[in-house]
C-alpha cells in the first residue's frame, strides 16, 4: 500500500458507492489498531515513520468514504483522473435552474437584512425560506442515493458511467449552492455558525 493509493483500495473495496457504513467503521478501527503510531513507540524509526504515514492515509480514506456526499465527490475526482488534492473537487456551486428566480429575491432580502436589520415579518420570511431550502438540500442528497444504486449497477454491468458522473456533478453543484445560501441565511438570522463553512462537507 503506497501513500498514493486510492481510498477504495485502502479498504480493499471496489469503486462503488453503496457502502455499509457500520462495517466500514469496524474495518477502520481494525486497520487503526494495526498501524496507529501509539503501537510503534518501541519500533524502528523507519517503522514509526511508516506507521504515521499509513495512519494518515487510513484516516483520510475513512473520513472520505464514510458518508455518501464526500464519497461521491471523491469518486468523481478519481474517475476524472484529477490530481488528488483533497479539498478541490472542481465542483462550483450552481443554483438549480428552477430556483433561479427565487434566488434573486432571496439575495435581495439578504442584502436588506445586512443593511437595515430584520423586523418580525422579514425575519419570519427568511426563516421560511431557510426551512424550504433545507428541505430542498435534503432531497438533492436523497437523489444521490439513487445515483449510487445506478452507479453500482453500471460498474457491474455496462451502464452510461459518464452520463451518471455528470448528473452527480450537477446535484453536488446544486447542493453546494444551497449550502452557501443556507449559511448566509443562518448568519443573517444571527444563528451560530463558524465561518469557513465552505470546506465543511456536510
Amino acid at each position: 500500500m503506497s501513500a498514493r493509493l486510492d481510498y477504495f483500495t485502502v479498504f480493499d473495496l471496489p469503486r462503488k458507492l453503496q457502502i455499509n457504513e457500520e462495517e466500514l467503521q469496524r474495518l477502520f478501527y481494525e486497520l487503526s489498531r494495526r498501524v496507529h503510531p501509539d503501537f510503534f513507540q518501541t519500533a524502528t524509526p523507519a517503522e514509526q515513520a511508516r506507521s504515521l504515514e499509513r495512519s494518515a492515509v487510513i484516516n483520510r480514506a475513512y473520513r472520505t468514504l464514510r458518508d455518501l456526499v464526500s464519497r461521491v465527490e471523491y469518486l468523481i475526482q478519481l474517475e476524472e483522473g484529477r490530481e488528488t488534492k483533497e479539498r478541490a473537487t472542481g465542483i462550483k456551486p450552481k443554483a438549480p435552474t428552477d430556483l433561479l428566480e427565487e434566488m434573486l429575491e432571496i439575495q435581495e432580502a439578504l442584502q436588506e437584512a445586512k443593511a437595515g436589520g430584520l423586523d418580525g415579518p422579514r425575519r419570519q420570511h427568511l426563516r421560511d425560506v431557510q426551512a424550504r431550502l433545507t428541505e430542498r438540500r435534503k432531497s438533492e442528497e436523497a437523489s444521490l442515493l439513487d445515483f449510487a444504486r445506478e452507479w453500482d449497477a453500471a460498474v457491474d454491468g455496462n451502464g452510461d458511467r459518464k452520463g451518471l458522473l455528470d448528473r452527480m456533478k450537477q446535484t453536488l453543484a446544486a447542493r453546494a449552492y444551497l449550502n452557501t445560501v443556507i449559511n448566509d441565511l443562518k448568519e443573517a438570522l444571527g444563528e451560530e455558525t463558524q465561518t469557513h463553512v465552505s470546506h465543511r462537507r456536510h
Partner: protein
Amino acid sequence: MSRIVGIDLGTTNSLVAYMEEDFPRVIPDAEGRVLLPSVVAFTPDGVLVGEAAKRQLVRNPTRTIYSVKRFMGKGYEDVKEELRYFPFQVLPSHEIVRIRVGEREVTPPEVSALILRALKERAEAHLGEPILKAVITVPAYFNDSQRQATKDAGRIAGLEVLRIVNEPTAASLAYGLHRLKEGIVAVYDLGGGTFDISILRVKDGIFEVLATNGNTHLGGDDFDRAMVDWFLADIRARHGVDVGGDLEAMQELRLGAEAAKCRLSFEDRTVFTLPLTQHGFTYRREIFRVELEGLIEPFVQQTLSPCRLALADAQLGLDQIEEVVLVGGSTRVPLVKRRVQELFGKPPHSQLNPEEVVALGAAVQAHILAGGITHMLLLDVTPLSLGIETLGGVMSVLIPRNTTIPTTAKELFTTSVDGQTVVDMHVLQGERELAKDNRSLARFELRGVDPMPAGMPRIEVTFLIDANGILQVHAQELRTEKAASIEVKPSYGLTDAEVERMIEESFIHAEEDVASRLLIETRNEADAVIRATERALTQGGHLIAEAEVARIKEALAAVKAVSDGNDRDAIREATGRLNQATLHLAEVLMDSALKEALASKQVTEALEKK
C-alpha cells in the same frame, strides 16, 4: 522501556500520575498533597515551585509567576489586554511573551519547565527511579504553537515528551477504563484558564473523537477576576479606598476571592475578609452564592456555544449524547453543573475527581504507549483548520478542523518569476476567511529550487499533523525528486537552537554536564534502535530476501561496535545507516499487518450493501 508518567500541566494546578497494575494513580508529594500549584517564584535565595511559591506570592508579587499557561505559545500582542491582572512584568515585543524577573527574562516554556521539573522530581522520589519520559496534556483547543511550546517545556525540563494528549480525551480514557458504557460521550472540561468540549464515540476500546471546540481563554481565572472587580468596586463604594494599585493587597484579594469561590460551591454564603493594614481597617463582606452566580453567569454562558458548534460538526443532536463527563476544577461550581445538565438534558458524570481525572487519563495513555494496554486506542482530531495564505490575503484551507489525526495534505507550489530559487509559504490556523484574522503559525522558505522559467518547478509540499496535533512540513521537487530544504520561522515559538540554549542556560541544568548528557541520550537512542531492529528482524526477516537480512545485520553490528564508545557522531552515523537499511523491512511489516486486518473483512459482499 522505562516508565512513562502522565502529567497534567494546568493553569492553576499541575499533577503527575502513573499506572500501578491496572489503575492509574496520582502521585502525592512528601506531605501527601497531589495538586502542585502552577506557581513559580524567583527569589534571591533561588527558585521556588508550587505551594512554597504560592505562599510567598503576596510578599513577592513581581517575581512570582502564576497562570503561565495562558501565555504559552502566545505573542505580546495576544495577551496585553489582560496584563493588568498580573503583577509580574511582560515585556513588549513582536515575538513570544517574555517575562521580566529581576535582572533576567524568562519565557513561558522555561517557567513551565520548572513546574514539570518539580513533578518529575516528585515522581522520582515516590517511585525510586529516574523518570525520563512523559505524556503531557494540553487543552484540546490549543493551537500548534501552544502545543509546541508545551513540548519545548518538557525538553527543557529533561523529559522526552512521547505524546501531547488533549485534556478532555485523556479524561475520557480515565473514565473509559472502568466506568464508561459504549456510546456517544460529551466531555465538558472547564479548568482554571481554558475550556474544551469534545464529542467522542466509544466503541470496542476505540475512543474516536468526532469533534472538539473550545476557548483557550476562559476558565476559573475569569470567575476570580469577576469577583475581584466586584470586591474592588464594593471597597471603593463603602470605604472610599482604591486598592487597585496595591500589588500585594491585590494578590491577597485574588487568592481570597478564589478561596471564597470554592467555599461557595458547598455553602450558600460565606464571609470574605481582607486586612487593609495600610488603611487601618479590615474589609469584611458577606457574599451569597446567588451573587457569585450573577457574576459568573456570562462566562458559563460562553461555554455553551462551543458545545453546540461541536455537536454541529459531529453531525449530532443534543439528544444523541448518551453520557456527559465533567472535567476540571471549575466544574465543581454548582451553576456550571446546572447549566451543563440543562443543555444536555441529563445528569453529568463526576465520580472521578475532576481535578485529577486528566492526569489519570494521561497515565493511561502513557501505559498504552508503553505497550501495557493494547485494547484501547485514542483517535483524536485537530481542533483548528490548517491552511496557507494565498493571493489577496485569503486563507486557503488544507486540513479542515476536526480531521482525525495523524493526517496529511499535499499542495503544489511553483515559482512566479523566471529563475526564482526560493518560494515562501505562510502557514495559518483558524476558521476565518482572511489570513490576517487567523493564527500565524510559521513562515516557510523553500530553498534551492533549480532556476527555471516561472511556473516550471513543481514543488510538492506535504503538511503532516502528527498524533500530537503538531505540524510537520516536508517538500519535494517532483521533477527531480529532490527533497527541498525548508527553513521554518515559527511566529510565536522557539527555534531548536533557542531551546537548546535554554537547556544549557537554564536554572535546571546548571549543575549538569551537558555534553555527557547528550552522549548518554545518543547511546540510549542507539540501544533502542538496536532492540527495535532485532525485533523487526524476528517478525519480518522471513518476508524479505536473505541478502537484505544480511545487509541489516551488518549495519546492526556496526552500531553495536560503536554504541558503547564516546564518539557521539560515530554512534549517530551508524544508527542513521541502520535506519536506512531497515526502510524496506518496515514497509513490508506494515503491509503485512494491514493485509491481516483486511483479511478480517468477512466477505467483500458484506461491505457492499445490496
